[in-house]
Amino acid sequence: MSPRIVVAGYDARGTGAAAAVAREMADSIGGAVDVVVLVPSAIPGTVEAFVEEAGLAGRAERVVAYELPPGHAYSGVTVADALVDAAAGNDVSAVVLADGPFAREAAARTAVRLDGACASMCSTVEAVAGNLVSVTRPAYGGVALAHLTLKASPAVVVLAPGGASAGTATGGAAPAVERKALTVSEVAGRVTVLDETPVVKTCDLEHAKVVVSVGRGFAKPADLEIIDDLVGLLDAEVGCSRPIAEDFKWLAKEHLVGLTGATVTPDLYLALGISGQVQHLAGIKGAKIVAAVNSDGRSPILKNADYALVGDLYKVVPALTEHLRKRKANGGAGG
């Protein structure tokens, strides 16, 4: 029996990214990839449309579409139920999940039931000999990167948020689609959904080309206004460090960049008054260029930026705004 990698994700994008990671693992051990999807609640259209959108052709041999019974929704328990069912009777070396709502719960429950190992925030995942899986993930908030071997099998891994890109679909054979009724654990039925309120997103940090990010260098919330024109000139999204979103709550959590917030990959990340704690730096590793303004010459951001200005952001931000305004009026570069 050839080893299998089982995949699940919250949406098509995540599922495609997880399947791409699983494909590489499977190829290295001569295995096959099974993708688990939950219908109808998790998928707006048909399973075939989902397979297309997630780019699963060439990445997965089999897609198992589990029909949720009436009254049940996508949850940590139901995803674990599907993963465990898909694993039954197969030689499963690994289960790969894209991060997202319920992903870590689904992973933890699956690992407990299959008596495996479990790791989250994995930036790399590799299948190695003898059903072992090695991963890299942050240690102590990103101060270090830990190389781990998951020695209990199967290894259940959750990819780093935004860390795995779906890449371009490789093409190849479309996976076989199977449909199955999902047998749901009793514990899922204990939770009753009373209300769902959509959260209106006002920013899209993950896909931003420029991010202007604010930290504790700002003395009071009203002062954040001084970045407005700069943000407009750079066509940027606004990010922030943890104290701003979590301690002071000056900005909504959707603006938070870092280990517990968004992982960003802009061309330019402009850090204003951000000291550069490791949890924050962990979220900006993928930025092409990091520029920083900080009044503290010993602040860690200075060593972790490409370009840094040591100075008072209340003076630098207006000067930078004015300079960019003139540059724009003069038609861009060279202004």
Binding site: Y140, G141, V143, L281, K303, Y307
Partner: protein, 262 residues
């Protein structure tokens, strides 16, 4: 209502450094504390205690004897009793091992109606141990919780799922992962911490939990740490000197050269 909070004694993650030469984390003289998210869980538990009648809050603190002061600080936030986990907490990378120890500890002190945990820990950031405990106990896991209330036998929680706020109700028992945005944890005074008498803290040894250290190291261990490398991304670290009037044009020129200004 019985509430158990699972908390972790950690080094202050903003002070831990990585030694490039020895490839080790430098923790000597680094301050220790209650893991940030666990303080949110403690605050949520104490708020439930203040809002209801006949609510008890107990804390299980991972971290061995070195964590005694941290445990007292947690108890001083308003808990009735604290338990120190003497062993089984040493790795931040093996949630499958941690959950066995915690689940046994929860059972050993009589179980709970609600188990409150921080969403993630400050050292591991796994977010896996609380749901694994829920699976082992056979109960629902609700997370990330941003709003919470409870009556005699059910809990109502709002979870921030990113694109939707979902409010759910579940009967006891339940495990909850508390989000840091839910509350602002109270800070006990030095005097309050000192006043936590020793009869309000107890130690749970691995033997008490029926988990001999040898079994933890062998049959329950699922992960090996092979090595650490620096977590920092390589950056140019160029300081642009001068007054804002001088430095700003230099910065803009540099960014243009990098091709990152439209």
């Amino acid at each position: 209502m019985r509430i158990i909070v699972c908390a972790k004694h950690v080094f202050d993650s903003t002070e831990v450094r990585f030694n490039e030469d020895t490839k080790e984390l430098l923790t000597v003289n680094v301050p220790v504390k209650i893991s940030d998210y666990d303080r949110n869980a403690l605050e949520a538990a104490v708020a439930l205690k203040e809002a209801g009648d006949d609510v008890t809050v107990e804390v299980i603190m991972s971290g061995g004897q070195a964590a005694l002061k941290t445990l007292k600080e947690a108890v001083a936030m308003g808990a009735d009793k604290g338990y120190l986990l003497e062993g089984g907490w040493e790795t931040a990378f093996d949630p499958m091992l941690s959950m066995r120890v915690l689940a046994r500890a929860i059972e050993a002190i009589g179980g709970a109606d609600l188990v409150l945990c921080g969403l993630v820990s400050e050292d591991g950031y796994n977010g896996l141990t609380p749901p694994a405990v829920a699976e082992l106990l056979g109960v629902p896991y609700l997370a990330p919780v941003v709003n919470l209330s409870a009556d005699d036998d059910t809990v109502t929680a709002t979870m921030d799922l990113g694109d939707v706020l979902q409010t759910v109700r579940a009967p006891f028992p339940c495990v909850l992962g508390i989000d840091s945005s839910m509350n602002v944890p109270r800070l006990p005074t030095v005097l309050q911490v000192m006043k936590v008498k020793s009869d309000r803290v107890a130690t749970l040894s691995l033997e008490d939990l029926g988990l001999p250290a040898t079994a933890l190291a062998t049959e329950f261990s699922t992960v090996t740490l092979d090595r650490l490398e620096s977590g920092a991304a390589p950056r140019k670290a160029l300081i642009i000197e001068g007054s804002p009037e001088e430095a700003v044009p230099s910065l803009v020129t540099a960014l243009e050269r990098e091709g990152v200004l439209a």
